[in-house]
């Protein structure tokens, strides 16, 4: 049995020669276990779906969805009027409708202001 120091002093060639002289014992059933492990690995790889099969289809689906999002909103409605004067008349009518509806709100505010001023005016009259 060599000491650690003796082993450390050996050259690389001497170490290789020593290693070649003594055959390492192979554990029982190693070959069988290796074959089984390799077979199991091959089976697992075969069972796993190949990503290349579905990636193009999924990419196409995503691209189609994105294209639909981009293209569909661009198909706008058709102009109601062909004549700009008629269109303008309708725009004017829309503005007048908006003004009327806003006026309703302003009328309510004016009424509220008058109601709010009533106590103040009454007090003023009493003080006079």
């Amino acid at each position: 049995m060599k000491t650690l120091e003796e082993i450390e002093n050996l050259s690389l060639e001497e170490l290789e020669m020593k290693a070649a002289e003594t055959a390492a014992p192979v554990p029982d059933g190693l070959e069988r276990r290796l074959r089984q492990a390799l077979a199991a690995r091959e089976l697992a790889q075969a069972a796993r779906p190949r990503p290349a099969r579905w990636i193009p289809y999924a990419s196409l689906a995503v691209a189609a969805a994105a294209a639909a999002l981009v293209v569909l909103p661009q198909r706008g409605p058709k102009d109601t009027f062909d004549d700009p004067l008629l269109a303008y008349a309708e725009v004017e009518k829309a503005f007048q409708t908006i003004s009327e509806k806003m006026s309703v709100g302003l009328d309510i505010v004016r009424d509220a202001e008058q109601t709010a001023d009533m106590p103040y005016n009454t007090l003023n009259k009493i003080q006079k």
């Binding site: 995503v62 102009d79 309708e90 409708t97 509806k101 806003m102 709100g105």
Partner: protein, 161 residues
């Protein structure tokens, strides 16, 4: 990975299905019965902008800056009781999903009028008026880059009449 991509595609489709704007609301309801609908496109607005001496009623009001800045006008007036609720809900969803601010709300004689705008101090990018009563819903949506000053001046003059 496959599931993620399918989920992503489904999400994209669902977002597009739920996305609401003036155009989509117009397209959804414009062909329904008892609904009057008006759409004016950006191209038509450009043509209107070429008309000289635009007037509102009897008072001369320069509409040109506002008209030229518009890119879309959608008007829906529904007297169809079957869709009024849905139209109102869609319009409110559209307003709530955007950055719209309530400009005015008035309730009078069973009618509720809400006016919303979106934009900044200088420019109004969107204007929505939703007027709803028991039997009628009116939805007016204006898109564009309207100068706020011109827009407010226009309506203040029109309201003074």
């Amino acid at each position: 990975m496959k599931r993620i991509i399918i989920l992503f595609a489904a999400l994209l489709l669902s977002f597009s299905a739920f996305a609401q704007n003036g155009k989509s609301i117009y397209q959804k309801y414009s062909d329904a019965e008892n609904v009057s609908a008006v759409y004016v496109s950006p191209a038509m607005f450009r043509m209107i902008g070429q008309i000289p001496d635009l007037e509102v009623g009897q008072e001369n009001v320069n509409l040109t800056p506002v008209i030229r800045s518009l890119t879309g006008l959608y008007i829906l007036n529904s007297e169809n009781a079957a869709i009024n609720g849905s139209l109102r809900a869609d319009a409110e969803r559209f307003i709530n999903s955007g950055r719209y601010e309530l400009l005015m709300e008035a309730k009078d004689s069973g009618e509720t009028v809400r006016i919303y705008t979106v934009g900044n101090d200088r420019v109004i990018e969107g204007f929505v008026m939703l007027a709803a009563e028991a039997s009628e819903v009116t939805f007016i949506c204006l898109d564009g880059q309207m100068p706020r000053k011109d827009f407010e001046e226009l309506f203040s003059k029109a309201m003074r009449k």
